[in-house]
């Protein structure tokens, strides 16, 4: 058998799961699309896998007036098929089109993807762009962490041993929000070498709110606040892709000295321009 030996539990309640996860060497299992490949290569050798699949109330997408809550067992395929996500957070649906292949999307979860925190993943930059908030449960309590504070490095997050994500909350965009996603990768669905996510709310020819982040260029997602601000200040009729590309170029100039700065300087403005253009085409 490929994986090294481990113990396995599939508790029926959240409390039981949290008690099990408090043991040293315990690790949650959701869709397994990152974890199982690592078990098979034995890069990971957890002592105990705690399968979350039987726990009630971890599935489904709920809406209130201001936000959508995505349960931790919601798969990419379920999220992509959600009409609520499509209208209130179109960027999530747009980004999922770039994740893996249909069979991977049928099993993999958004929460698992965020916790894995691969710098080449699409969902972390979307979570940062949209100001998502993760709710983390531990047997001793609950806390909320903003996506921007959640990602600490490549494959490294603010989650502590024994904690699990119990919801991902994303503020709703205004009706008519549109999204665009642009990436460079060796093949469609191969890990991104660089990616840009954009969601725009516009009215009367003006950008009311812009949400923009870049991924893969550094260990954690990069929110492009100056590009967001430039778009929001633009007069009607401005060439927004060109403006965004210019602002992105200036942001990158500020990163001079980082190993990726050379590549990023070339690719980021182009991707920002492209992602904004595809967003506007959808408006």
């Amino acid at each position: 058998m490929k994986p090294a030996p481990f113990d396995y539990e599939s508790p029926a309640t959240l409390d039981e799961a949290l008690a099990l996860l408090d043991r040293p060497g315990a690790c949650p299992l959701a869709g397994g699309q990152s974890l199982i490949p690592s078990l098979s290569t034995r890069r990971m050798r957890p002592d105990l896998l705690v399968d979350l699949r039987r726990i009630p109330n971890l599935r489904g997408i709920d809406a209130d007036a201001h936000s959508l809550r995505i349960g931790p067992l919601v798969t990419f395929a379920e999220a992509a098929a959600s009409s609520e996500l499509r209208s209130a957070c179109p960027l999530v649906v747009e980004a999922i089109r770039h994740v893996g292949s249909p069979a991977i999307r049928n099993r993999g979860t958004l929460a698992g993807n965020l916790v894995w925190a691969d710098p080449a993943s699409e969902l972390p930059l979307v979570a940062v762009a949209l100001r998502a908030v993760l709710t983390l449960r531990h047997r001793d309590g609950v806390r909320e962490v903003e996506a921007a504070d959640f990602f600490l490095g490549a494959f490294e997050t603010a989650i502590r041993p024994g904690e699990i994500v119990i919801s991902i909350r994303i503020p709703k965009g205004a009706t008519g929000a549109r999204a665009g996603f642009a990436e460079v990768s060796l093949r469609r669905n191969a890990p991104a070498l660089a990616a840009v996510a954009v969601q725009i709310e516009a009215a009367d020819g003006r950008v009311r709110a812009a949400r923009i982040a870049a991924g893969s260029l550094q260990p954690t997602p990069m929110r492009l606040a100056s590009v967001e601000a430039a778009l929001e200040a633009a007069e009607p009729g401005t060439d927004l892709p060109a403006l965004g590309a210019l602002a992105a170029g200036q942001t990158i100039a500020g990163l001079a000295g980082q190993s990726t700065a050379g590549y990023a300087g070339t690719v980021l403005p182009a991707l920002v321009g492209r992602a904004i253009a595809s967003t506007l085409a959808a408006l």
Binding site: F6, Y8, S40, T41, S101
Partner: protein
């Protein structure tokens, strides 16, 4: 060596089975090594190649990326269940033969299972839907064109 086993109930190609399996057994190894269903091929064991694709509760999954215990309570369909009981080929298999959509056949069971899943959801898949299906499968022989010709014929465009 395995520390732990579990009893699971799975339906495989319509037949319910109650099995005691090591918790670290992969679904692909359950199918091949325990149940003798070697039509499900294992290429990479890591997710990209798609040769191990089966249907679980009607949706495509990588059997190399599921533990057998995760299939507890599920209905699994493999390539062995596709042709009719008398051995007559399924129309998907006929279309693959007709269009020379396979050479060595290593990738074929996975692609056929994905096609079974796609045609159930979408009986006349568009070119985009067919391209999306192929994103999940590597074929070292055919160059993909004949596979798409078979899929196009099945979609009613042939």
């Amino acid at each position: 060596m395995s520390r732990d086993t579990r009893e699971i109930t799975v339906t495989v190609n319509g037949a319910p089975k109650r099995l005691t399996v090591p918790v670290r057994l992969l679904l692909s190894d359950l199918l091949r090594d325990v149940l003798g269903l070697t039509g499900t091929h294992v290429g990479c064991g890591q997710g990209p190649c798609g040769s191990c694709t089966v249907l679980a509760d009607g949706g495509t999954v990588r059997s190399c990326l599921m533990l057998a215990v995760q299939a507890d309570g599920m209905e699994i369909e493999t390539i062995e269940g596709v042709a009719a009981g008398d051995g007559a080929l399924h129309r998907i298999q006929e279309a693959f033969r007709e269009h020379h959509a396979l050479q060595c056949g290593f990738c074929t069971p996975g692609i056929v299972m994905a096609t079974v899943g796609l045609l159930r959801r979408s009986p006349h898949p568009s070119a985009d839907e067919r391209a999306e299906l192929m994103e999940g499968h590597l074929c070292r022989c055919t160059g993909y064109r004949n596979i798409d010709a078979a899929l196009a014929a099945l979609a009613g465009e042939g």
